[in-house]
Amino acid sequence: MAAAPSPADVAAPGSFTTIIGLEVHVQLQTATKLFCGCPTTFGAPPNTQVCPTCLGLPGSLPVMNRHAFDLAVRAALALDCTIAPFTKWDRKNYFYPDLPKGYQISQFDLPFSSDGFLEVVDPKGAFSRRVGIIRVHLEEDAGKSMHDEAAGTADSRIDLNRAGTPLCEIVTQPDLRSPQEARAWLNELKLLLVYLGVSDCNMQEGSLRVDANVNLHIPRPDGSVAKTPIVEIKNMNSFRSVERALAYEAARQWEEWQATGRELGSAPKQTRGWDDPAGVTRGQRHKEESSDYRYFPEPDLVPVRVSADDLARARAAMGVPPAGLRRMLAERWGISAYDADVLVNQGRELVAYFEELAGLVGEGKVASNWMQQDVLRTLNERGGTIDAFPVRPAALADIIGRIAAGDFDTSRGREIFAEVLASGRTVADVVASLGIAAVDDDALDALCRELVAANPKIVADVQGGKEQAAAGLIGQAKKKNPNVNPGKVRAKCLEIIRGL
């Protein structure tokens, strides 16, 4: 690596600023495709979810899926985009075996939305970035082509199950300034879209795909800025890959610029593919005139007008976005921005669990600590969803309440939590079976008198004004009876000593 990319907008002399824009495709969470009633279920056997429309057979006609359009509008609204009152679709013409019609139905000059933004704030304060959205449009996906090189065949296999699946394309301004920011922003975008129910954003299943445009701004001694040629990176299969590919590409461009001095405009935009195992980007063959898509209006679809009522309905269906939820949790429950971030990033269901717990406990900070230290940790170890988590908020609130009441201490509480989790029994049941029945007052009184009698040195210290010496009695009490409450032992012992 040459110089580390600067997180600042203006690079210091001898270094550079990395300029990054992203193009994200997300598959919308619909039951059917964009223009026909074929299902969009992932993983079905090849070519079993196709019909004349998505096969592009002559005579078939597309009809727009209302839910897909509504989800796309919801996403655009959440990205603070302006929704166009009038929108239409266009044909993007190119030949590829996974595109049976010979064109993709997309949007060219009148996308349904434009000009929004999504902000990402690092919870530890490392950066905060408002990223402009140039446009969001609605289009159909292509099919899948598979080439099995190991089999040594000369053929590619085409599966058209995915052809016609609804996609939102989200194009950002080149507002990101480091690979870390790009990754964090993608996480925020994914969280938002999952919260909205727009997409499951599963990268493994191709529900979210990212291409990145990157170049460097390099300040010269005379105050001008050199800009390296823009490279589009493709083939990144995880947000981690995006971060790595951008870091690699920034370093590669820096070295290339030092060697050649080549600047933006001296060469056409280059496309490079990310090779994840090798950790490098590689130049892809330049397809001659491949960008000449000869868009023209799609004659088979009529335009869509969006009314104020439509927008009001879409807004009502949105719910609170993650950024708003973080603020709301911090205000309502008095937890830190960092804690709110951790909870919100786990999804809407976990936030609902937390709010129910915090409401029952009546104290946000304690509930948040239990969520992070116990619930989340266990959930990560076990896997599964919070909705299927065996310890429900009421049971956890019961444990926390008993700790607060002095029935037992926090470490005992954790044991009970683990036992409720493992056995699925009630808290009361577990408390009884572990012999954690609260020590009754007579037994406590007897135990404390015994300890006071056996420890004249501690008694003398306490009488001499060193109340903290009573801690020694608590330790001994716990050895004799693990169920005693430390606070109660302390209070009782001090009471006995004072009465001597």
Partner: protein, 105 residues
């Protein structure tokens, strides 16, 4: 393009042929350059009409907001899907090797 000088070069036609995946012979290229130039000329006459006060037409039909509900309808049986394909393996269409990425651009 103004109607005064509708012209299409041989190069233009060669490029359009490439984009359309048409392999044209030299003779066809010459012939089509003339023919397509004429077509462009015909269409260019529209440029003589003053359309400054006319709103662009997105669709010839006076219809909008035609939607269907997000309800699954039966797909085709795979045998019938593949039946007309020049080559298939019973599951997928077979085509000459495609290298590089797939998916919507």
């Amino acid at each position: 393009m103004s109607s005064a000088s509708p012209s299409l070069s041989r190069q233009d036609v060669a490029k359009v042929a490439l984009l359309s995946r048409l392999a044209l012979s030299e003779r066809e290229l010459d012939h089509l350059t003339g023919e397509l130039s004429k077509i462009v000329g015909f269409v260019s006459q529209l440029a003589d009409v003053d359309t400054s006060a006319v709103e662009p037409l997105a669709h010839p039909l006076d219809a909008q907001n035609v939607f269907r509900d997000d309800v699954v309808t039966p797909s085709l049986a795979r045998e019938s899907v593949l039946r007309s394909a020049p080559r298939h393996d019973g599951e997928s269409f077979l085509v000459p090797a495609v290298l590089g990425e797939t998916g919507a651009a």
